[in-house]
């Protein structure tokens, strides 16, 4: 059974669907089903690979390519990768279905504006390409391979924003491309400095993390790699591109960009930067922890004063990325495992929330301003329940897996701050009090502004099931991850502990 190349298949099946999407005969329904199904198959393949192999530790796909001086291009799965890759595949599969009714509305709008955007086939081609590139990114075992996949995520997402986005979409698409590219290049410079001296693999062809490979390389390499991935992560100070890109992208793409793409920055920060520079990373961890806490609080404060629902969610993503960074910065098994779990939780939760924003946009002709909403829960019980579930994910309220990831990240932060002394312990607790308080406040304040109080939207009605159905699927996955938590948490803590050592 170990001869089946599950991981390559999980990329090739969506690729085949993307290419098939270009065939002229297919209608939008067939396209949605084809692409969604291919991504669902990808998710199942990942699940199979995880259950059979990855749950025990790093497993490499039997198919791998030796690239001479550039090392080996292989695909790996382990509990960390599974959490990320599976949540990407599952989210994109559901959002592919959601895209159909949503983009129907968007195409109408674009036609109304007089813009001529490429049609359904181009949309789904780019969409699935984007999705599979993200899955490939996290499974890669080699820096160059990682970079190739990363570039592959950028181009389709750039085009999706430029073709179908809102507002000044071309300008925003270029801004997005430029800044994330700057981040990727900063990372690449650092990575090349390490790679040319020590090699480009960060997981050996035998399936072991090459821990400490980069130690002794020039210090700027570490700093550049962290900075580059932080731009992707949109940490405080380098978050300038995110509110624009995520707010103005077509909503299904926002639902992928926001939780999936940016979270990859955190995942790879551990898998590449920590693995190459374990002791430098540990030495830098207090600074990273402070940066993470500042990002949490700053994102929360920004979200509090937004009135555009999508922009509010974009700032909330910045705040959530702070939690991911906090888990990593704790350099403890629980904290890092919590980061990976929170990636999954945030993927489901934020996809649902952006989905809800899209439901409102599609149902009420572009309504995004929360000050003009109110009382919608009465007429839209399903949408309101979904929004509540989405906010429960990101604020860590059971029965969603958010409570597990939040606990684990805090557990990591406590462990690290205890070892740093009483000042850090009290300071971190105080910052978390503010940060989590802000998250709760903006989340449930938004719930109130949109859904409670007297009805303030004319002609309010429940959206069609084709829009909220896929979101329900994602929310259900988040609840299922709460109940079936052991296979997600226990192996991850185990593997992270073996990488960190202790």
């Amino acid at each position: 059974m170990s001869g089946v190349p599950y991981l390559w298949l999980s990329l090739l099946v969506p690729l085949a669907a993307a290419v098939l999407s270009l065939l002229p005969r297919l209608g939008k329904r067939a396209l949605a089903l084809l692409n969604s199904l291919s991504l669902a198959v990808s998710a199942l393949l990942l699940l199979a690979a995880y259950a059979l192999h990855g749950i025990k530790g790093v497993w490499l796909d039997p198919l791998r390519f030796s690239m001479g001086g550039l090392g080996t291009f292989a695909l790996a799965i382990d509990p960390m990768v599974f959490l990320v890759a599976f949540s990407i595949a599952a989210t994109t599969a559901a959002i592919a279905l959601y895209s159909e009714p949503y983009m129907e509305h968007r195409f109408e709008e674009l036609a109304h504006e007089g813009a001529r955007a490429p049609g359904w086939r181009a949309y789904y081609f780019l969409y699935t390409l984007f999705a599979l590139a993200m899955i490939g990114t996290v499974m890669s075992t080699n820096i160059i391979e990682f970079y190739v996949f990363l570039e592959l995520t950028l181009i389709p997402s750039f085009l999706l924003i430029a073709f179908y986005g809102y507002g000044d979409r071309v300008r925003i698409a270029i801004m997005y491309l430029l800044w994330t590219h700057v981040g990727a290049l900063l990372f690449l410079i650092g990575a090349l400095a390490v790679g040319f001296q020590r090699g480009f693999d960060f997981i050996s062809p035998q399936g072991a993390f090459l821990r400490g490979l980069g130690e002794g390389a020039p210090a700027y390499a570490f700093a550049l790699m962290i900075l580059g991935l932080s731009v992707k992560l949109a940490a405080l100070g380098v978050h300038m591109w995110l509110p624009y890109a995520h707010a103005e992208a077509p909503t299904p793409v926002s639902a992928l960009l926001s939780p999936n793409l940016i979270g990859l920055g955190a995942a790879m920060m551990f898998r590449i930067v920590y693995v190459l520079f374990p002791s430098t990373f540990t030495a830098a961890s207090p600074a990273l922890m402070a940066w993470a806490l500042a990002t949490i609080i700053y994102g929360g404060l920004m979200a509090l004063s937004q009135t555009d629902f999508k922009r509010l969610l974009a700032y909330s993503s910045i705040s959530q990325m702070g939690y991911l960074l906090l888990g990593l910065a704790s350099v403890s098994a629980y904290g890092v495992a919590g980061t990976f779990l929170h990636y999954l939780v945030h993927a489901f939760g934020k996809a649902v929330l952006f989905g809800v924003a899209g439901v409102l946009i599609a149902t009420y002709h572009g309504l995004r301003d929360v000050t003009r909403m109110g009382g919608l829960a009465e007429k839209m019980p399903y949408t309101a329940s979904l929004a509540l579930l989405g906010f429960m994910h990101i604020t860590g309220i059971p029965p969603t897996a958010g409570i597990w990831s939040e606990y684990m990240i805090l557990r990591g932060a406590v462990e690290r701050s205890l070892s740093l002394g009483p000042g850090w312990y009290i300071g971190v607790a105080a910052a978390l009090l503010v940060g989590v308080g802000l998250s709760t406040a903006y989340a449930f304040l938004t719930m109130r502004r949109i859904f409670y109080g007297p009805l303030r939207v004319e002609g309010a009605r429940e959206a069609q099931a084709r829009l909220w159905g896929p979101l329900l699927l994602l929310a259900a996955l988040g609840v299922a991850s709460f109940v079936i938590a052991s296979p997600l948490i226990d192996p991850t803590v185990e593997v992270v502990r073996s990488v960190i050592g202790g």
């Binding site: 059971p398 002394g421 109130r448 109080g453």
Partner: protein
């Protein structure tokens, strides 16, 4: 296998939640039956388990691993404390659920109501019965979610659902609250505390390596935390969640406005679930704190200081809330203030009891009052619901003389009220007496004083509310509710009286059972505390309560005193009245300082930092710098180079070309002369040896 049935104590209500969801298309009867029966199953399972514990004297522990890394188990742990608590929670919830059947019939959101109701009960039972702190946290957060949903049940915010006086402002802050606003407040307030609690649990997990209560109860962690210098901070963080959930000052504000929920929900929150969770957490940890004090030299001082502070907070809460209850005009609001006040007593009881007589004394003092309060407060709220239904108003000004038409309701309210006021021989008398007693025993002067004064105030406001509602002049016609509503609170009122009558016998049994609480078996010793007994406290309490109760009852009920006019005439009194009526202005201060502060910080950051600095840097300054650089490069470098290549070089060639053209005269002699000159030049070069030949 039989033991595994005990899991139903929290599993059954959760199963009920799922069932209610599945039945969302069914009628009110089917949904209600599913919910009520699931809670009944929970109550029966708890009773069976509690009987096992009482008869064998051993704890009943069922546990299978859920998430190994977090030592989170699917479990029940019935020991002395949790058995008693589970009985109180499940049976009261059952009675309130029965009451809801009639009370909530025909209201909007049937599925939502029963879903969150059962979810609430399940979460509370889970948190009471968990054998580890992580699943306890899951239940804890579950109660938070359910309370949020139920407090905001009427989320469309019609005016009759509000709490407070519409139009009234204090320091410019509105003093009326819509259901959706109250729900938000409840969630944000309690979750603030929860962050501290999670940090505390994570600290224990880090130090002990597990979250199992049985491991933590040894208290060995105190030494390491003391050495790390974080023990006091840790204690405050760990109990922050309990303080917020149990509405201790300064976290009490959410509980008051939680009255926007249906009255059945108020009863549930105040009597059985939610606010009792904080007290329960404190009770759970009382023996553990005693063990921790013994485990490390130096820890005892920190822990007894902490408990003294907690006792003071409890006493202060009791006093402040009682003063607010004195002036409130809303029936449910008076009861809400009284709950917060009694919760203060419970905190005082646990802390002072543990200080004065060790773990079991703390457990007994705290839990006894929790029990008696649960019974009488459930009765009071449920009866209040019937009254509000009958007169269609939440203000006591619109009530009066209802005893004539609602005899049984008045009886239940009076029996429960006598218990609340601490009139012997009702249950509340015994349990409050015990708290004042241990506070005096522990030598806590200020808390004891506050507790005694508060007992007097409690008697006052209880007599006031009873006479304003049931005695005096009538306001039109009212009638008793149906049996599904009436029977639960009548039973609770009678139980409150019976509990009091049987208390001297019962308290022995309670204390005996509480001896079997985790961690309480070993250490019974009092924390080292140089106590000076405060004399006369118990006697003063009794005297104050009885005289003030009778005096107030006479004044309002028979003499027909209405102090509103007197208060509005005196500037001092009316200012005092407004101060108390506006809840010591704390709400306004929170809104102006905390909410307003964060709001202005948020908009200032958004304007000046995010748009002003970040946006301007990345999307103005950096592009402009690049643009400038491009312009400079193009002007100075590119233009010069361009001139060099496309002007200077070209014109150089052009002049060369012109020079050659000048030679082309077309006349033969010129050519010959040039030929000769060229040849001569070549010859010269050859002769000089410049060319290698």
């Amino acid at each position: 296998m039989e033991k595994a049935l005990a899991l139903l104590s929290w599993l059954a209500p959760y199963a009920g939640s799922c069932l209610v969801l599945l039945l969302h298309r069914a009628g009110w009867k089917a949904k209600s039956a599913a919910a009520i029966l699931s809670i009944l199953v929970s109550a029966l399972a708890s009773t069976q388990a509690a009987l096992y514990v009482a008869s064998t004297g051993r704890e009943l522990h069922v546990s299978t691993t859920w998430v190994g890394a977090l030592s989170a188990n699917v479990s029940v742990l019935f020991d002395g404390l949790s058995s008693l608590m589970a009985l109180v929670v499940s049976w009261l919830s059952f009675l309130i659920a029965v009451y809801s059947y009639e009370y909530m019939r025909g209201e909007v959101g049937e599925t939502r109501y029963w879903f969150f109701f059962t979810f609430f009960v399940g979460s509370m039972m889970l948190l009471v019965l968990s054998d580890n702190l992580v699943t306890m946290l899951v239940g804890w957060e579950g109660t938070g979610l359910a309370s949020y949903a139920l407090i905001g049940h009427w989320f469309t915010d019609e005016e009759e659902r509000w709490v407070g006086d519409p139009g009234r402002r204090a320091l410019g802050v509105p003093m009326w609250f819509e259901p959706s606003h109250s729900g938000l407040r409840a969630l944000v307030f309690t979750r603030l505390g929860d962050v501290g609690m999670v940090v505390g649990i994570a600290t224990l997990h880090t130090v002990v390596g597990t979250t199992l209560l049985s491991e933590i109860s040894s208290g060995a962690w105190a030494g390491r935390l003391l050495a790390a210098g974080v023990l006091p901070a840790f204690l405050w963080l760990l109990f922050l969640g309990a303080m917020a959930k149990s509405a201790q000052v300064p976290f009490h504000e959410w509980l008051v406005t939680a009255m926007t929920g249906p009255t059945s929900v108020s009863a549930l929150i105040h009597a059985a679930t939610m606010v009792k969770a904080g007290v329960y957490f404190l009770l759970r940890f009382a023996p553990i704190l005693v063990a921790a004090a013994a485990a490390a030299a130096g820890a005892a001082g920190v822990i007894s200081d902490f408990l003294s502070s907690l006792a003071l907070i409890g006493a202060l809460t009791a006093f402040m809330m009682a003063t607010m209850a004195l002036v409130s005009r809303e029936l449910k609001l008076i009861l809400a203030f009284s709950t917060a006040s009694q919760l203060g007593y419970m905190f005082l009881g646990v802390a002072a009891g543990t200080l004065a007589g060790g773990a079991v004394a703390g457990l007994a003092a705290g839990f006894s009052h929790l029990l008696s309060h649960a019974v009488f407060k459930a009765a009071l709220f449920l009866a209040a619901g019937a009254v509000i239904h009958a007169v269609h108003s939440r203000f006591v000004d619109d009530m009066g003389g209802l005893a004539r038409d609602m005899r049984l309701t008045a009886l239940a309210f009076l029996l429960a009220g006598l218990s609340l006021a601490g009139i012997p021989p009702f249950a509340g008398y015994w349990t409050k007496d015990e708290i004042v007693h241990v506070a005096a025993e522990a030598g806590l002067l200020l808390p004891t004083l506050l507790a005694v004064v508060t007992a007097g105030l409690t008697a006052c406001y209880t007599a006031r509310v009873f006479s304003r509602v049931f005695l005096g002049e009538g306001h039109g016609h009212a009638h008793e509710p149906g049996p599904a509503m009436l029977l639960p609170y009548l039973a609770l009122g009678l139980a409150s009286a019976a509990l009091g009558a049987a208390w001297p016998l019962l308290s022995q049994g309670l204390e005996g059972l509480l001896h079997h609480t985790l961690g309480a078996e070993e250490g019974g010793a009092a924390l080292a505390h140089a106590a000076h007994h405060v004399p006369g406290a118990v006697e003063a309490t009794l005297l104050l309560a009885v005289t003030l109760f009778l005096a107030t009852l006479y004044a309002y009920g028979w003499a027909g005193v209405r102090p509103y006019a007197a208060v509005s005439r005196s500037p001092l009194l009316s200012r005092l009245h407004s101060f108390l009526y506006d809840r010591w202005l704390l709400n306004s201060v929170y809104y102006r300082v905390v909410v307003g502060g964060f709001r202005s910080l948020s908009s200032a950051l958004s304007r000046y930092v995010d748009t002003g600095l970040v946006d301007r840097l990345y999307h103005r300054a950096i592009p402009l710098a690049f643009q400038g650089a491009v312009r400079a490069v193009s002007r100075y470098l590119e233009a010069t180079w361009d001139r060099l290549l496309h002007v200077n070089l070209v014109s150089a060639f052009a002049s060369l070309w012109r020079a050659f053209r000048g030679l082309q005269t077309g006349k033969a002699p010129h050519y010959i002369a040039l030929l000769w000159a060229g040849a001569a030049l070549l010859l010269l070069i050859v002769l000089l040896g410049w060319l290698p030949w």
